[in-house]
C-alpha cells in the first residue's frame, strides 16, 4: 500500500509478467522517435538520455543488485574509451572490435580490483572504488606513453575523422548513433531482466539481503559478485567506447572522473536501483532536467541550474528513497484498480 511496506526484495509478479511487454512497447516507441522528428538538437538530447540510461543500467547490474555502492565505475568507461580509440588510431582496428577488447580489459580489471575489495562492506567498498578510479585517472593524466601507445596524458585523445564509415563507427548524422545507443540500452536492460531471473540474480539478491546467511547456505559471495562486477564493467566500457566514438574526443578528467561515476550511481538510485527499468527512469528524469534548467538558466543565473538539480535530488531521496520507479508503478496500479474495481 505504501512505499515503506514493500519488501526489500522485489521479484514482484508485476515486474515478472509485464516487464518484457512493457520493455517492448517502450523500445518500439523509442525506435519510432526519429520518424516523428529529425530535429538535430532533440535527437542529440535523446542520445544523451539513452547514454546515461545505459551507463546507469550497467552500474545497476552490479551495484543495484548486490547493494554495494561503487563510485568508481568511470574507470571502466575510461578504459573502454581509451582502448578502443588507441586500437583504432594505432592499428586501424574497427572500434566495433575495439570496444569488445576494451570491455574485456575492463572486465579483467574489475576482477583484479573486485577480488580484494568485495570483502569490504558499505562505505569501505565505496571508498576503495573511488580510490582505484582516482589512481587510474591520475596515472593516465600523467602518462604520455605506455607500452608504445600514446596516451597523451591529461591532453586526451582525438579520434581522427575518416569520413562516413560503418566499420569506423563514424556517421554523418546523429540518427545512427541514436539507434546504436538505443540498441545497447535495450540489450543492457534485457541482460538485467535475464539476470534477475537467473541463478546469478537470486544469489545476488540473497547476498544483498543477508550476506552471512547467503554464505551459510553455500552461496559464494565472492564468486557471484565478481561475475556481476565483470559483466557490469564490460557493459560500462562499451558505453565509454560509444562516448568516445560519438564525441570523437575523450580525456581522463571527464571520461574517468568521479563526476561520471556519481552520475551513473545517481540516476540508478533516483530511478530505482535493483530494478531493471529504474536506471532508465532516472536518466529520463535527470538528464532532461539538467538540460532544460541549464538551457534556461545556465547562461544568466550562474550555477542556479545546479542548485535546482541538487534540490530535485534531495527531494527525490527524501520522498522516494527506493527510487521513483516504485511510486510510479504504484500510481499506475492505483489508476488501473480505480478504473476496474475488482
Amino acid at each position: 500500500m505504501t512505499v515503506s511496506t514493500i519488501p526489500l526484495d522485489r521479484t514482484a509478479p508485476v515486474g515478472f509478467s509485464k516487464g518484457p511487454a512493457l520493455a517492448l512497447i517502450v523500445l518500439l516507441l523509442a525506435a519510432g522517435l526519429p520518424l516523428v522528428t529529425q530535429d538535430s538538437f532533440f535527437i542529440h538530447s535523446a542520445i544523451m538520455v539513452l547514454f546515461f540510461a545505459y551507463m546507469a543500467t550497467a552500474w545497476n547490474f552490479l551495484c543495484g543488485y548486490v547493494g554495494q555502492l561503487s563510485l568508481g565505475h568511470a574507470m571502466f568507461s575510461g578504459m573502454g574509451g581509451y582502448v578502443s580509440v588507441l586500437l583504432f588510431t594505432t592499428f586501424g582496428l574497427s572500434p566495433w572490435l575495439g570496444m569488445i577488447v576494451g570491455g574485456l580489459a575492463a572486465a579483467a580489471l574489475s576482477v583484479v580490483i573486485g577480488y580484494p575489495t568485495f570483502r569490504l562492506k558499505g562505505p569501505y567498498f565505496t571508498l576503495t572504488t573511488i580510490a582505484f578510479a582516482e589512481i587510474v585517472r591520475i596515472w593516465v593524466e600523467n602518462t604520455d606513453t605506455f607500452l608504445g601507445f600514446h596516451i597523451k596524458g591529461a591532453e586526451g585523445l582525438v579520434v581522427p575523422m575518416v569520413g562516413e564509415s560503418f566499420a569506423a563507427f563514424q556517421f554523418g548524422g546523429k540518427i545512427p548513433y541514436y539507434y546504436i545507443i538505443l540498441g545497447m540500452l535495450a540489450l543492457a536492460i534485457l541482460a538485467t531482466l535475464i539476470m534477475e531471473r537467473s541463478k546469478l540474480g537470486y544469489c545476488l539478491k540473497a547476498i544483498r539481503g543477508d550476506r552471512d546467511a547467503a554464505e551459510a547456505l553455500g552461496i559464494s559471495p565472492t564468486r557471484y559478485t565478481l561475475t556481476a562486477f565483470a559483466i557490469s564493467a564490460f557493459m560500462t566500457a562499451l558505453g565509454g567506447s560509444f562516448y568516445a566514438q560519438f564525441f570523437r574526443y575523450i580525456n581522463p578528467e571527464r571520461n574517468m572522473g568521479t563526476e561520471l561515476s556519481i552520475d551513473m550511481a545517481l540516476m540508478s538510485i533516483i530511478g530505482g536501483q535493483g530494478t531493471a527499468f529504474g536506471p532508465l527512469i532516472g536518466a529520463l528524469i535527470l538528464t532532461p532536467l539538467a538540460e532544460v534548467t541549464r538551457g534556461y538558466l545556465g547562461g544568466t543565473f550562474l550555477g542556479l541550474h545546479l542548485v535546482i538539480y541538487g534540490i530535485v535530488l534531495m527531494l527525490a531521496v527524501l520522498y522516494f528513497p527506493k527510487g521513483v520507479l516504485e511510486p510510479l508503478k504504484n500510481l499506475a496500479v492505483g489508476l488501473f484498480r480505480r478504473r476496474n474495481p475488482a
Binding site: H44, L289, Y296, L302
Partner: protein
C-alpha cells in the same frame, strides 16, 4: 489515524510527483517550441560558467556583455541598419559532452549567427567541430590546444595564442632583456606542476633554451596542491639557476612565492612565471606585495593596457569590470570583450547575419585598432587555418608594486625600465 496519515502522505507524494513530471515535460517541450524573433543579431558563447573554471568563465562572460552593451549603445551594427547585438551563453561546466550539447542548442534553438568560447581546450576541440558541421562561424576565445586550428576547418577562428607560443615568449623576453643590457643569464631552472600543462610547458622551455644557448640546470616537477616547497627550493639553492621559470596554479604558486620570500632565495635574473596563479587577481590579494616583487609574468593579456591605450571603450570596459567583478580588466575579461568585437567587425563588413557571409568576412578580418585589441595585440588577421598569426602574450615585470609590460618591446609603455638583473633580497627596500 496513522493509517489515514499514511494515505494522505501517499496522495501528496503522487501529487508532487505528477506535478513535477508535468512541469518537467512542459518546460522540456516548451524549450523546443521557443524560437527567436530576430530584429537583432544573436551570437552565442559557450563558457565554463559553473564547475572548476567558473571564475574564468564568468570573467569572460562579463567581458562579452560589456562589449555588447557598448556596441548597442553606439548604434548597433551600422551596415545592418543599426541592428542590435544580443549574446546568449551556454554553460559547458568544463565538460566536452555538455559543451557539445550547448553548442547544438545555441545553433539550432537560439539560431546564433556566430559562436565564441569555450576556454577549455577539451570543450573547444569537439564543440568547434559541431560549429563546422553546421557551417556556423566560431571565434575561439581562450583555448590554446594547437590542433584546434590545424584541422583545415573553414568556420573556426582563433584570436589568441597556440599552446607552444608561451614558452618561446618567455625565452624571447630573456633574450630581449639580455640584448638590451648586455647581461645574459647562462643557466635556467624550471619548476612546474606535474600535469599536462606544466610538463608540456617545461618540455617546450627546454627545447627553446637549448636552441638559444642556455643550459637548463634544474628540471623539477612537483605534484599539484602540495603544502611545502622546501624540497624544491633546496634544489634551486644547490643548482643555482640564474633565472627560474615556474608554472603553477594559484594555491601552489602562493606557497612557492611565500617560501621564496621567507628563505630570501636570490635568483639573479628573476622568477619567470607563465601565468597560472600569477594571472589570477585573487593571487595578488593573498600574497604580500614583497613576495612578488620583480616577478616576470607571461600571460595572454597586456596587464597595463589601460596605461598605454587611449581607446575609450577599453578604458570604460576596465571601469565596468571593476564595478561588476571588483577588480580591473583581466586577461579573461579582455578576451571576452575582444571576441565580441571581432564578430562585430565581421558583421559590419558582411552586412548580414548570414553564417556563410559572416564566415567569409571573418576570414578577411584585418583589425589594427579598436577595442578588439584589448588583449594587447597590434593586429588580428587569420591565416587559412583560422589562426591569428599576430597573437602574442605579454610579459610584465612587477616594478615598484606595479605590473608593467616589458615584452614585447612595442607593448612597453614609455618610461618603463625593466629591472635586469633583479636586486637581491638585501638590496630591496624595507628588507
Amino acid at each position: 489515524m496513522s493509517n489515514h496519515r499514511l494515505q494522505r502522505t501517499t496522495a501528496n507524494k503522487s501529487n508532487l510527483l505528477t506535478g513535477a513530471l508535468t512541469f518537467g515535460a512542459l518546460t522540456f517541450y516548451a524549450s523546443f517550441a521557443f524560437a527567436q524573433a530576430a530584429p537583432t543579431v544573436t551570437i552565442g558563447c559557450v563558457l565554463p560558467l559553473s564547475g572548476g573554471s567558473a571564475s574564468v568563465g564568468s570573467q569572460t562572460k562579463v567581458g562579452a556583455e560589456i562589449a555588447v552593451d557598448q556596441i548597442n549603445r553606439e548604434g548597433g551594427i551600422k551596415s545592418m541598419g543599426g541592428a542590435k547585438l544580443n549574446v546568449v551563453f551556454g554553460d559547458s561546466q568544463s565538460k566536452a559532452d555538455i559543451g557539445v550539447t550547448e553548442t547544438e542548442r545555441l545553433v539550432t534553438r537560439e539560431n546564433v549567427a556566430a559562436l565564441c568560447g569555450a576556454f577549455n581546450s577539451a570543450v573547444t576541440f569537439p564543440a568547434t567541430e559541431v560549429a563546422e558541421r553546421y557551417k556556423t562561424p566560431w571565434v575561439v576565445v581562450g583555448a590554446v590546444k594547437d590542433e584546434i586550428t590545424e584541422r583545415n576547418f573553414k568556420y573556426v577562428f582563433r584570436i589568441n595564442n597556440k599552446a607552444n607560443y608561451d614558452a618561446r615568449e618567455q625565452v624571447d623576453a630573456i633574450d630581449l632583456l639580455s640584448k638590451e643590457t648586455g647581461k645574459k643569464p647562462k643557466t635556467l631552472g624550471v619548476i612546474y606542476e606535474g600535469t599536462d600543462w606544466g610538463r608540456s610547458h617545461a618540455a617546450n622551455i627546454k627545447k627553446f633554451a637549448s636552441e638559444r644557448g642556455y643550459s637548463v640546470v634544474l628540471d623539477e616537477a612537483a605534484p599539484p596542491n602540495q603544502v611545502d616547497f622546501s624540497n624544491q627550493l633546496l634544489k634551486v639553492r644547490s643548482t643555482k639557476p640564474e633565472a627560474l621559470i615556474v608554472a603553477f596554479y594559484t594555491p601552489d604558486h602562493l606557497i612557492l612565492s611565500r617560501q621564496l620570500m621567507e628563505q630570501r632565495l636570490d635568483v639573479p635574473f628573476g622568477i619567470h612565471s607563465v601565468g597560472g596563479g600569477t594571472e589570477d587577481p585573487a593571487f595578488y590579494k593573498a600574497v604580500p606585495p614583497r613576495a612578488v616583487g620583480y616577478y616576470f609574468v607571461q600571460e595572454d593579456f597586456q596587464i597595463d593596457i589601460t596605461e598605454v591605450t587611449k581607446d575609450p571603450m577599453i578604458l570604460e570596459a576596465d571601469k565596468r569590470s571593476k564595478e561588476v567583478l571588483g577588480y580591473p580588466m583581466s586577461a579573461y575579461t579582455a578576451q571576452g570583450l575582444s571576441g565580441v568585437y571581432v564578430i562585430k567587425d565581421a558583421l559590419e563588413r558582411a552586412g548580414s547575419a548570414d553564417r556563410t557571409k559572416l564566415r567569409d568576412a571573418l576570414a578577411a578580418t584585418d583589425i589594427k585598432s579598436g577595442p578588439a585589441l584589448a588583449t594587447g595585440y597590434q593586429q588580428i588577421k587569420f591565416d587559412e587555418q583560422g589562426q591569428n598569426t599576430h597573437a602574442h602574450g605579454a610579459i610584465s615585470q612587477n616594478i615598484e608594486g606595479k605590473r608593467r609590460t616589458v615584452w614585447p618591446a612595442e607593448n612597453r609603455a614609455p618610461g618603463v625600465k625593466p629591472s635586469w638583473p633583479v636586486p637581491t633580497w638585501s638590496e630591496r627596500p624595507n628588507s
